[in-house]
Symmetry: none
Subunit: 212 residues, 2 copies
């Protein structure tokens, strides 16, 4: 479990990102900070593995806060609105080991967090993309990866509250028997015993939202 602190003065980003990262199995957000001063205190209190730090912040800017962090402290990734080579250099000089835009997709951020936690410096690496790729992990476990398209459709319905064989067969335009066959296959792949457990698992896997 990688322990993370996020610092950003934009609370919507801060609170949203905290919840999103917490939802990733191997990541844990132990604290959040609204400005540089709070960050210094939170790092001291919680001793995180990784810090995500916004460059633009009131009171103490990200770079200033970064300089105040102890040597040998947490690996720090700067997060910024506009990517700017000049700021990137200053971040590196101040001790950052990563530099990402706020336009980065969430899985990339997660990969970067794992990479710097493993000791990599994404700012000095020969091939940062390759380092990142090495720390991507499949979102789904192997059971879920083996699900067919039709089985996912059925799971989506289950997770949205369509639970009876009758309703499922109506929605999918197939017979009761076929629904029960699909369900039996799903139970085996997800290692569950009944449709209630399958629904819970489907939601955990994020299959309840949007198609595909």
């Amino acid at each position: 479990m990688i322990r993370i602190i996020i610092a950003d003065d934009h609370r919507l980003l801060l609170e949203g990102l905290a919840q999103a990262l917490d939802g990733i199995p191997d990541l844990e957000v132990v604290a959040t900070a609204n400005d540089g001063a709070e960050l210094i205190e939170a790092v001291d209190t919680h001793q995180p593995d990784v810090v995500l730090l916004d460059i633009e912040m009131p009171k103490l800017t990200g770079i200033q806060a970064l300089r105040k962090l102890p040597d040998g402290g947490p690996a720090t990734i700067m997060v910024t609105m506009h990517t700017d080579d000049d700021q990137r250099r200053r971040a590196q000089t101040a001790g950052a080991v990563g530099f990402l835009s706020k336009a980065t997709p969430l899985p990339d951020l997660a990969a970067a967090v794992r990479a710097v936690n493993a000791g990599h410096n994404l700012l000095t690496a020969d091939d940062p993309d390759e380092v990142m790729d090495d720390h991507r992990q499949p979102v789904l476990d192997e059971g879920a990866a083996a699900l067919t398209a039709r089985e996912k459709e059925l799971l989506q319905l289950l997770a949205s509250g369509v639970t009876s064989t009758e309703d499922l067969s109506d929605r999918l335009f197939i017979s009761h028997k076929t629904v029960k066959n699909h369900l039996a296959n799903i139970y085996e792949k997800l290692a569950v015993a009944d449709r209630a457990q399958a629904a819970v698992e489907a939601i955990r896997l994020g299959l309840h939202r949007k198609d595909q």
Copy 2:
């Protein structure tokens, strides 16, 4: 359930915020968009109740996208980095009914979403703060509010994948019969038909993580 679409080119904010809002029982993020063009399409497809729209976006700015939305479409709240009276006026002229900084705390955003969904215009209201305060608490279904402590315990187990009457009675140290009585009461209060639907509903209500 208030159906929401979020548009922002900063994916960390977009994906984080989407997950955070989805965690609120009466809110549902039905789609996200990375730019104005995607937003127009997503609104057409999903017909949301409320749109959260970043002002600064590539291709089509928030204001431009807002103008392209149909009259009588979703209530739109502009979300912006730097609060700027000039932009606020332009947003209002273009048809926005709310205007918030990205530094707004999450509960305030949720309150604003509920307020505009209820027909309020936060830009023209006499006392916007009072309108917001009136919508601060999530409107939980009355059924869920009527759940007893024991029923919530049972629902937590259900939502964590303990689904058979046998397992439930073992975990709660009560007889099979009592479990079935509790379940029947839960079904009535949540207006569901079986334990699979109850599990889905329990997760939606946020009863799956930590106690209380």
